[in-house]
Amino acid sequence: MTSTGFEPKIAAFVCNWCTYTGADLAGTSRIQMATNVRIIRLPCTGRIDPLFIIKAFERGADGVIVSGCHPADCHYTAGNYHARRRFTLFNDFIEFLGIDSRRITFSWVSASEGQKWADIVNDTTARVRELGPFSGYRDLVRSGLTGGQDAGT
């Protein structure tokens, strides 16, 4: 895919206490950043089921950002530590299933790091734009590989 006219859709799963507030700070500080990111606010990174990321890709996202409080800063004490273990496995496993892990950015962004959030957004958008659309799921439909009788021909 060339980059002509392609604007990636990026879903960002962020925690309420640090990254969401950090993103808010980026906004109130009038920091310019890519507009490709749709933020989904959750209580904690510990609430982010890896299935959310799969679902985002399934529903047409080209990239995903997962972000929360820095280690030792979790509002719920340990949610981000549990999330870190989970995403460590997820990040390695996803490549085996055939989803390029470069499409997914994991980060820690605190409430005071508006600039860091803007950088994460810009970097991820640029990287995903270069990778092109995530066509895995779309190709399933195009090739007729959609399962069962309802498969489009």
Partner: protein, 290 residues
């Protein structure tokens, strides 16, 4: 085998247990049997066709078996890992089960596979098995047979997938999952699948599409592998039970490899070692997090 029959008979006669979960010869190969009368202990067998992981019958989902009373279970080394997993996760109390461990020389792919084990007929998990003598056992029976031959199918397929570019891997799995008809045999047979309500049965919100479509199928098999991270006993029962012949064991094998590399953890039949998921260290690696 005499040893096993005598032990089962004695346990039932003494009233130590109400049921012995073991293997018997069925019309098309070895099948599970639930022995409740001492005289029926004669039915019990143990051989290289005792493929099934009976630990699934100890899960809380199988309430009808728990209602029979305290059970004894015949396990191979690999099955013992699943029993330990259930104990580790508070699904089973150690004192509520008598574990009859069998020294094992490997098993076949299918319970109907007659004849000596060859690299073609031996189960994948038997290659390089280090738990042919279950440690989690109240009674350890049999002589240790020679090590089984090695099957290379799974390693070859794993290497083949790892050589593919990422996009091609997606294609590979999509083609595999295309054949999945969502019969849920993989879930039903899994000893570690004991959620009271499985996420794929939940419809509000529906995270995993229920229709047999490559898209929802990928979500399901991904979720199953994710939920089994650091828990899967690698019994490959999901793969054996799959009527579509999906290489599901590969997903779990890959996940086990990742868990081993990342957290130096290997699923064992020691129920006192905590699972890596549900625990954490402040110094866990995080080089992939910005």
């Amino acid at each position: 085998m005499r040893e096993l029959k005598n032990l089962a008979k004695r346990l039932l006669e003494e009233g130590t247990v109400k049921v012995v979960i073991g293997y018997e010869e069925g019309p098309v190969g070895v099948r599970p049997v639930f022995v409740t009368r001492p005289a029926d202990a004669e039915k019990l067998v143990f051989n290289s066709r005792c493929v099934q992981n009976l630990a699934a019958y100890l899960s809380r989902r199988r309430g009808h078996i728990a209602r029979l009373g305290k059970s004894a279970i015949v396990v191979k080394g690999c099955d013992a890992r699943a029993v330990a997993g259930l104990i580790r996760e508070s699904q089973l109390k150690r004192e509520d089960v008598v574990v009859i461990g069998m020294r094992c020389g490997g098993v076949a792919l299918r319970p109907s596979d007659e004849g000596p084990l060859t690299p073609e007929t031996v189960a994948d998990r038997c290659s390089g098995c280090e738990s042919r003598e279950p440690k989690l056992a109240d009674h350890l029976l049999g002589e240790l047979p020679p090590a089984p031959p090695k099957a290379t199918r799974m390693f070859e397929l794993m290497a083949q997938i790892e050589r593919m570019p990422v996009a091609e891997r997606f294609r590979f799995w999509a083609e595999q999952f295309e054949r999945c008809m969502r019969c849920n045999a993989c879930r039903e047979v899994c000893p570690m699948c004991f959620c009271e309500r499985c996420i794929q049965d939940k419809s509000q919100p529906q995270w995993i599409e229920t229709s047999p479509h490559a898209r929802g199928n990928l979500s399901w098999h991904f979720t199953h592998a994710m939920h089994l991270a650091g828990r899967c006993s690698s019994c490959d029962e999901c793969q054996r039970a799959c009527p579509a012949g999906l290489p599901l064991g590969l997903l779990n094998r890959k996940m086990a490899e990742i868990v081993r590399n990342r957290f130096e953890y290997q699923v064992s039949d020691d129920s006192t070692v905590p699972s890596p998921i549900g625990a954490f260290k402040q110094q866990d690696p995080q080089e992939f997090i910005k």
